[in-house]
């Protein structure tokens, strides 16, 4: 039986740029900014790094293929460097590479860095699918975008649970309003304005039933983590953050081809189950103190609450309405504003989520600080609801 990597790897330094429309910043400059914050936080020199992982998803035309853009931008001294890509789980995948290398004993200190420069496409939203997805998909895919594919979760969810469109939009608006409130407290967030439930409900429709404020920001940004062996971590700092579980689940195709119900995401369920097992968590609703989940759209966050077993199937509305996921609630979700408010430079997002969990566990989250958190969880979902890759990472002191 495989042991997993619980308590074998610790994060000793992290960095994260301000996310947003960074018209003045090149991918190199974003990478350097996140990286310098991380190594200063860890108190290491860049020559201490044994191996590096670069996560970048869409922007290989700008950032470039391979990990060379990273190694050259940071002037890493001929160490092993690898680029990874796993849709929106790319940042978490980079962290996985670094953590597994340390856990394997191959290196003492590794770097994971995610970067994305999305604002050079010339239009809003993520890059158009048909130039990104394979040639067969180009022939048979519907004329779709990410908002539309995730909107279909809402259509089905509303239908399955008998939620009228007005009630449904109000439920989702509360999800986004909460994230905007949190993001307004965060100087590094892309969208720092509070919006009311009524403003959200009345915003222009992007993909029915999702409106403008149901969709996350599309941003430029970078985030980085320095990891080392757990038994060495306290040499670097008194409060290293330990990796309790790190799991990824990729679709088998059965959801798309066979039996997806479009009211949950099976990969999230599977990744969460594996992570809870690895971290020895039996009651996530009670034991997880806080979470940063993949709220690319309000409906995604809502459904993810059920997929992560934070609440029972079909019941998320009760928890949304009771404020359970608010900063002062029982299980704060998106304390940094989430993808919704902090923004979503795809390759950086997984590491940005970890940055917030790391700062919260160290008690350095300022006005967003959650009281005495024990376990923090990050969740990414890359792809579309019926075929995707999900990551779940659990960390604690």
């Amino acid at each position: 039986m495989a042991e997993g990597i619980k308590d074998r790897v610790a994060i000793i330094g992290m960095g994260c740029t301000r996310f947003g429309e960074r018209w003045d910043m090149s991918p190199d400059e974003l990478m350097v900014e996140a990286f310098m914050e991380a190594i200063e936080d860890a108190g290491i020199d860049r020559r201490d790094i044994g191996a590096a992982w670069l996560g970048t998803c869409y922007e290989e035309t700008n950032v470039g293929k391979s990990a060379i853009p990273l190694s050259v931008a940071l002037k890493l001294p001929f160490i092993p460097a690898t680029r990874v890509e796993n849709w929106c789980a790319t940042g978490s995948e980079a962290l996985r590479g670094a953590c597994y290398a340390v856990a394997a004993g191959a290196y003492d200190i590794c770097l994971a860095l995610g970067v994305e420069k999305l604002k050079d496409t010339g239009y809003g939203g993520l890059p158009q699918n048909e130039v990104q997805w394979g040639t067969v998909r180009r022939l048979v895919d519907s004329n779709q975008t990410a908002p539309g594919m995730f909107a279909m979760l809402a259509t089905r969810y509303f239908s399955r649970y008998g939620i009228g469109p007005d009630e449904g939009k109000r439920m989702l608006a509360m999800v986004s309003a909460k994230s905007h409130r949190n993001g307004a407290l965060n100087p590094k967030a892309h969208l720092r304005r509070e919006v009311t439930v009524e403003q959200i409900i009345n915003a222009p429709i992007i993909a029915w039933p999702l409106g403008l404020f149901d969709c996350c920001g599309v941003s430029d940004g970078a985030a980085a983590a320095i990891v080392t062996r757990a038994d060495m971590a306290k040499k670097f700092r008194p409060d290293p953050v330990c990796v309790k579980a790190l799991q990824i689940a990729a679709s088998s195709g059965e959801e798309m081809l066979y039996d997806d119900d479009w009211t949950h995401v099976e990969s999230s369920v599977r990744a969460a189950r594996s992570a809870y097992q690895e971290a020895e968590i039996s009651n996530p609703r009670q034991q997880i103190s806080m979470a940063e989940v993949h709220d690319c759209f309000s409906i995604t966050e809502a459904i993810t609450m059920e997929d992560l077993e934070f609440c029972p199937r079909g019941k998320v509305r009760d928890d949304i309405e009771s404020g359970f996921f608010e900063l002062a609630g029982g299980l704060p979700v998106q304390p940094d504003g989430g993808l919704k408010s902090f923004g979503h430079p795809v390759g950086a997002s997984g590491l940005r989520m970890m940055y917030e969990m790391y700062k919260q566990l160290q008690g350095k989250a300022g006005p967003r600080q959650i009281k005495d958190p024990e376990y923090g969880l990050t969740h990414n979902l890359g792809g579309v609801p019926s075929v995707n890759v999900a990551s779940v990472i659990i960390v604690g002191l």
């Binding site: 067969v136 089905r156 993909a207 798309m256």
Partner: protein
Amino acid sequence: MVGITSYGAYIPLLRISRKTISAATGWLGSASGLPGEKAIANYDEDSLTMAVASAVDCLGGTDREKIGELYFATTTSPYRERQGAVIVATALDLRSDIRTADFSNSIKAGTAALLSAVDTIKAGSAKSVLVCASDCRQGKASGSQEQSCGDGAAALLLGDGGAIATLEGSYSLSYDFVDYWRTEGDRFDRSWEDRWIRDIGYSKFIPEAISGLLSKYNLSIKDFAKVVYPSLYPREHAAIGKRLGAEPDQIQDQIFTTVGDTGTAYSLMMLVASLEDAKPGDKILVASYGNGCDALFLEVTSEIEKARDRRGIKGHLASKRELDNYEKYATFRDLLAVDTGRRGEEIGATQLSTLWRERRMVLGLCGSKCRRCGTPQYPRQVICANPSCGAVGEMDVYRFSDKRGHLFTYTGDALAPSPSPPSIYGVVAFEGGGRYTFDLTDCELDSLEVGMPVEMSFRMKYRDVSRGIHGYFWKATPGRA
């Protein structure tokens, strides 16, 4: 006896009133102010997609393996080189060891294809030939063709047994009468003076051919239950019948004021309409028009009673939606330079070797069906997606295009670039198994509901002007009433 064994038709859902066109372009002075409305292809339809739709209507549950040849008649094939007939055959998932041919360059090509199909069968080259005629001609803004030309298609299956109407004879006239013409590179027809076309061409050739047929076979106009010929000018259409000695109820109703002049498909669509009302023993005379005239006559058999379950002309005429916005029509026909936004300019390349490899999956909408557990799946798979099966390499080809389904979930997407926003798409769950996300067309977002029945329709998916590619695939529609 050789004859028609099945028939079908297609008229697009959208209609535009000729008044709407006049209101938009009449100020230019040359608009003809014709009565009624015309049928117009949606933004994702063209002569190929309409031909496929008429063939689907015609074939019903017919065993497609038995079709030995396919002829496609049109003057508006999207390609100058790349056969239309073989695209239609691939979309219909016909056998590949068949002969296909395009009949083109004259609006009488529809009857030319029909007569050739009959001769092919008589010669013993094939037992069953499918003829599709379809046209989607576009007139210049404010010109008479903008008012007169409508879009539509007809399909006839010809065979040597079990005919619903046998072909008894024909008489053809061929004249180099240059009424309308298009040369290489012309997008729109050019034409000579309308009065000359009407008086010297249309009003003369049809009676001449019909008279020739009657005398060749020693028949009288009174022998025919229906006389079918296209109506290019409603008044002259009636006058021709009168001059031939036909009673008004012998003349097949014109569809000029409901559909318009559908070119190669015109007389065949009217023939389909006549078959819908025909009784065993009826004789039907059909004439086309264009660079002369083909006249032919048919005798309806008792088999006609078995061929009533078509949408045909009546069904498609009754199911319609008016487009009261000329600018939208002009946009669909690419007459206006529309800003698609930067996103709309992102056109991925079409790899034709990929299309070739996946032609049955893409154009024919064929997926896989697991031989072991019976699960249909789309796109095609090598390993069965049923987690309790997982059989490797035990797949049969499975056609989804003729399966009905229901709408599992859907959205209307305002971000995706579309000529007719929002881009509506949804997950279709097929009866018998299999599901996939498809574009939805011929519907409004407000009219959709989870669980509603849908059917598949062959459509143009994209047009890559810079590379000269028309991409085709299947979309879901709520189905025509």
